[in-house]
């Protein structure tokens, strides 16, 4: 996965691990089933003088061909469930304590971000509000408070492997910790009307000095 | 066109085809009303203050309507009773009593609603009233449909045709009655 798209948050690798796990387990069954399917199509193609066999599939030794894969798939499913829920729990359910909080507001068709100012507190006079540009410090654990002013939006940062819908009237809390600097895309992932496809934001991850410099510039 | 396919006369399950279909109709209606009432209940639990709005509904009108529907249910089951004994005149008479019950129900509903709307409790007043009018409105539309079908059947019955259909419309009518039995405490009594 990280070959296709960069990992820029602390949990991106966990999600990629789950994806890889499923790819291996499900991929095994997939290739096995396809191989058997094509082998059968080839092996049992119509030939002169060879009559098809009469197999009801109700005798025990025949049914074992269903039971064994059936049980093995249950085992694979349980493994996948375990890891999927573990990752889910870490990302969505159990938030680590926040060092800073940013507010994310979805609108038709722009993202508005409220950054805490130099005092690192949201809701004070030196908050910095921007449109379509989120600036965060690398290595700092952020909570985001996600809101929507009109219709459904979805705050999606592919490099973070992060996605959460914004629902009008509700406030969602989530978290992320950026792990590398750079400039990345923020997309809207929930149909929000005519400008949905053009609702693009930028995520700037920078080190603390650059971020403070930017805040100071904004303050003046 | 009027020849009935042989398929319709078969009955592998032991239930006549018409009645089996009516049961499935009712099954599908259960989920429609059930879905609506489930939504209502969810939000009712979220917003305890809906009780204040519910206090403005007329329990008396609701109770009278329950009485009217229960009585019409009695008439339609008597119509079925008569139809089974091939007393088609009596069945016709009872069917029209049932339709009269439906009409009374709608009339009371009309007075009740016009009074409430005059008070300012329209469908957009708040969400409780939205549910109130939507649920009762869908129910009332079922009453109207039932009355129309019943009127059509009643004339068949008078000509001594399709007597088993009295039972089918009866089952439907009872179902409409049962829906109201639940709507009444949900919308009127619970304050």
């Amino acid at each position: 996965m990280d070959l296709i798209i960069e990992q820029a948050s602390s949990f991106a690798a966990d999600i990629d691990m789950v994806i890889l796990l499923i790819a291996v387990l499900a991929g095994f069954w997939f290739f096995l089933a396809e191989a058997v399917l094509f082998y059968f199509i080839f092996k049992f193609r119509q030939r002169k003088g060879v009559k098809a066999q009469y197999i009801t599939g109700t005798r025990k030794e025949e049914k074992k061909w269903l039971h064994w894969p059936h049980n093995l798939i249950i085992v694979c499913d349980l493994v996948i469930i375990f890891f999927a829920i573990k990752v889910w729990y870490d990302i969505k359910q159990d938030l680590p304590p926040a060092q800073e909080v940013v507010q994310v507001i979805g609108r038709q068709w722009s993202w508005q971000f409220v950054h805490p100012g130099l005092d690192k507190q949201l809701g004070t006079a030196d908050d910095v509000a921007t449109v379509d540009e989120l600036r965060v410090k690398v290595g700092v654990t952020y909570h985001f408070k996600l809101e929507s002013r009109d219709v459904l939006h979805s705050f999606s940062v592919p490099v973070f492997r992060l996605k959460q819908d914004a629902v009008p009237g509700r406030v969602f809390t989530g978290w992320f910790t950026p792990t590398k600097t750079g400039t990345y895309d923020i997309q809207c992932a929930e149909m929000c009307g005519m400008g949905h496809g053009l609702m693009q934001g930028r995520l700037v991850i920078e080190d603390e000095a650059a971020h403070d410099e930017w805040l100071r510039n904004k303050a003046t | 066109m009027s020849t009935m396919p042989i398929a319709t006369t078969r009955s592998m399950t032991g239930i006549p085809t018409g009645r089996l279909a009516v049961w499935w109709v009712i099954g599908s209606e259960i989920v429609i009303f059930g879905g609506l009432l489930a939504c209502y209940l969810l939000l009712r639990n979220l917003y305890p203050h809906w009780g204040e709005s519910a206090a403005h509904t007329s329990t008396l009108a609701g109770a009278i309507n329950t009485f009217v529907l229960l009585t019409s249910s009695l008439f339609v089951v008597l119509a079925h009773h008569a139809a089974e004994r091939k007393r088609h005149i009596a069945a016709f008479f009872y069917l029209w009593l049932t339709i009269g019950g439906g009409l009374t129900f709608l009339l009371i509903k009309a007075f009740e609603w016009s009074y409430e709307i005059a008070q300012g409790y329209t469908i957009t007043a708040n969400l409780f009233w939205s549910y109130y009018y939507t649920a009762a409105g869908i129910h009332a539309s079922h009453v109207i449909v039932g009355m129309i079908i019943m009127a059509i059947i009643s004339f068949d019955v008078l000509r001594q045709r399709n007597l088993p259909r009295v039972e089918l419309i009866g089952i439907y009518w009872h179902f409409v009655d049962i829906v109201w039995i639940f709507l009444f405490p949900l919308l009127y009594i619970a304050k």
């Binding site: 009469y54 499913d77 469930i81 | -």
Partner: protein, 558 residues
């Protein structure tokens, strides 16, 4: 039987076969519209901003409308009518050995309501503001308020069309269920019913049980749009998430509503063309039941990141992965059926086998989306798009073509050309994979759905990705072109094809006991049933098939 004029015979017919045809042709026309929409927005994605041949430039507003209505049409006006209504209407009375549906006039009404719904939907493209563009899921508040979606009339008409379509299928479904339950031929017991009929009826039951809340929801949304109520408006105390639950409570079983009939069609075809008894008939039934029951417990996996409580998501992740078990087992049964067979690769069989091969991909990729942790990333990306096309395309296109090639001799009394059929098969199957395999990759790279143009997104605007998009679009055009041989084959064979005998494929089920095409009333004498439907290659018998209605000739089978 009295002589009927054209209108009585073909337009206002109560004959189940004609009604099935009406559904089929309406579905085909709608499929052409849906395909045209797909072509238009794929062109926009491959060559953003340029003028699309046959449409003009696509504005973002039109793009949303195209995407929305492509999805709506393909599911509600193509997959449902063709899989459920066409095959259901055509096959149920024939396969259970009776003369018609139990309620022929209800059946006609069902089609008329369906036709009305299709007309309303098509009309919605031409009203002021254009067709509805809020995605086929129609999440409020976007779908509820004209100031957000800017399609005041389009949204309302779209909703009315969908609601009418549900009513049509409720009427049809009641008919299917009652007919199968009550009107089977003498001797046809529960386990003598062909799988396809089980599947169609199970699907009808699933549909009936799941659609109720959404019908109520549609009425509520309609009031939101037209009267200004606040059922889904948070400012008035409503809840947008409630609609999502209402929608997906129906929306997920809906997948199985179309999947099961497709599975049934494939079961018929692979048994006939491999001359094999279905491996473990009862297991197929049990897995179908299990799928049906489980499908009511999984709907919220569509909403993992939509704002449902994260604790509840865990429950749904478990149920979602569990549903993979019966589906996988069903596929294993089909593959096992091929073992020891004598496989004839006719066009119908090719489509049926390709269904298995392609649906496996669709099923396997579903696990990525059902696993809640991985879904955080994949949700609403092209991975999802590719996944459900790998399920819906085999269901609604491959299985349907398999069924058409297989039952065409029975429908019209003539054979379709096998050569053209094979050309059509390869021209459909290969481009299909070329369309959607790149989309898996693009989805994994973080490309989101329903995006008008990727030019603004620097991570997605690379030349390599754009080439993949062009590849998918070109493959789509190739695939659409390869439908022309099919259309020619279909209509030419109807008039001039090789005349078919009553049982050209040497199949067992009852529809082949009727003449091809069956007259009004189907059977000269209504058949009786003596044995299960898949008795192929029974040892000790001269011929390798043993029709259900053939009287036992004294000699006992092994």
């Amino acid at each position: 039987m009295t002589e009927q004029n054209f209108w009585q015979k073909y337009i206002f017919s109560t004959d189940h076969k004609i009604i099935g045809m009406q559904y089929m042709f309406t579905g085909m026309i709608m499929a052409l519209i849906g395909g045209y929409f797909a072509y238009t927005f794929r062109m926009q994605l491959a060559f953003p901003g340029t003028e699309v041949f046959g449409f003009g430039t696509v504005s973002p507003h039109e793009y949303n409308s195209l995407v929305t209505n492509h999805g709506t049409i393909m599911i509600f006006w193509v997959a449902m009518p063709v899989l459920l209504a066409t095959f259901g209407n055509f096959l149920i009375p024939l396969m259970i050995g009776c003369d018609d549906m139990v309620f022929p006039r209800l059946n006609r009404l069902s089609y008329q309501v369906f036709l009305l719904s299709a007309i309303v939907l098509v009309a919605s493209f031409f009203v002021a503001g254009g067709g509805f563009g809020g995605a086929w899921t129609a999440y409020p508040p976007l779908s509820a308020q004209a100031k957000y979606n800017m399609t005041q009339y389009g949204a309302t008409l779209w909703l009315i069309a969908v609601a009418l379509e549900f009513v049509a299928f409720l009427l049809g479904g009641i008919n299917f269920i009652t007919t199968l339950m009550n009107s089977r031929a003498k001797g046809m017991k529960m386990y003598d019913i062909p799988i396809v009929l089980w599947m169609i009826v199970l699907a009808s039951i699933l549909f009936m049980a799941s659609v109720g809340p959404l019908i109520a929801g549609a009425i509520m949304l309609l009031f939101d749009q037209t009267l200004g109520t606040g059922f889904f408006d948070p400012a008035q105390g409503g809840d947008p998430i409630l609609w999502q639950h209402l929608f997906w409570f129906f929306g997920h079983p809906e997948v199985y509503v179309v999947l099961l009939p497709a599975m049934g069609i494939v079961a018929e075809i692979i048994t006939v063309f491999s001359r094999k008894k279905l491996f473990a008939y009862k297991t197929v039934l049990y897995t179908a039941f299990a799928t049906g029951v489980l499908s009511f417990f999984v709907w919220a996996h569509h909403q993992f990141i939509a704002g449902i409580d994260p604790r509840m998501a865990n429950v749904f992740a478990v149920t979602t992965l569990l549903i993979s078990i019966p589906i996988a087992e069903m596929l294993f049964v089909y593959i096992a059926t091929l073992y020891g067979g004598s496989i004839r690769l006719t066009a119908a069989m090719l489509f049926a086998l390709s269904f298995l091969a392609a649906f496996l991909i669709g099923g396997v990729t579903g696990i990525f989306l059902g696993a809640s942790g991985a879904d955080i990333y994949f949700h609403d990306t092209y991975f999802v798009v590719a996944h459900f096309h790998y399920t819906f395309f085999p269901i609604a296109i491959l299985a349907v073509f398999a069924g058409l090639y297989y039952w065409f001799p029975k429908m019209f009394g003539r054979h379709m050309s096998e050569t053209l059929g094979k050309i059509h098969f390869w021209g459909t199957f290969i481009p299909f994979n070329l369309i959607f395999l790149p989309l898996f990759f693009l989805g994994a790279a973080g490309q989101h759905r329903r995006i008008y143009s990727y030019e603004l997104f620097s991570e997605l605007n690379s030349a390599d990705f754009q080439n993949l998009r062009v590849l998918a679009t070109v493959a789509l055009i190739v695939m659409l072109i390869f439908q022309l041989p099919f259309l020619y084959n279909f209509f030419a064979s109807m008039l001039r094809g090789k005349v078919a005998t009553a049982n050209p494929w040497q199949a067992n089920t009852l529809e082949w006991a009727a003449p091809s095409p069956p007259p009004h009333g189907n059977f000269a004498t209504l058949p009786e049933v003596y044995r299960p439907p898949y008795e192929y290659s029974v040892p000790g018998r001269e011929s390798d098939f043993w029709p259900q209605h053939e009287k036992p000739s004294g000699e006992s089978k092994a």
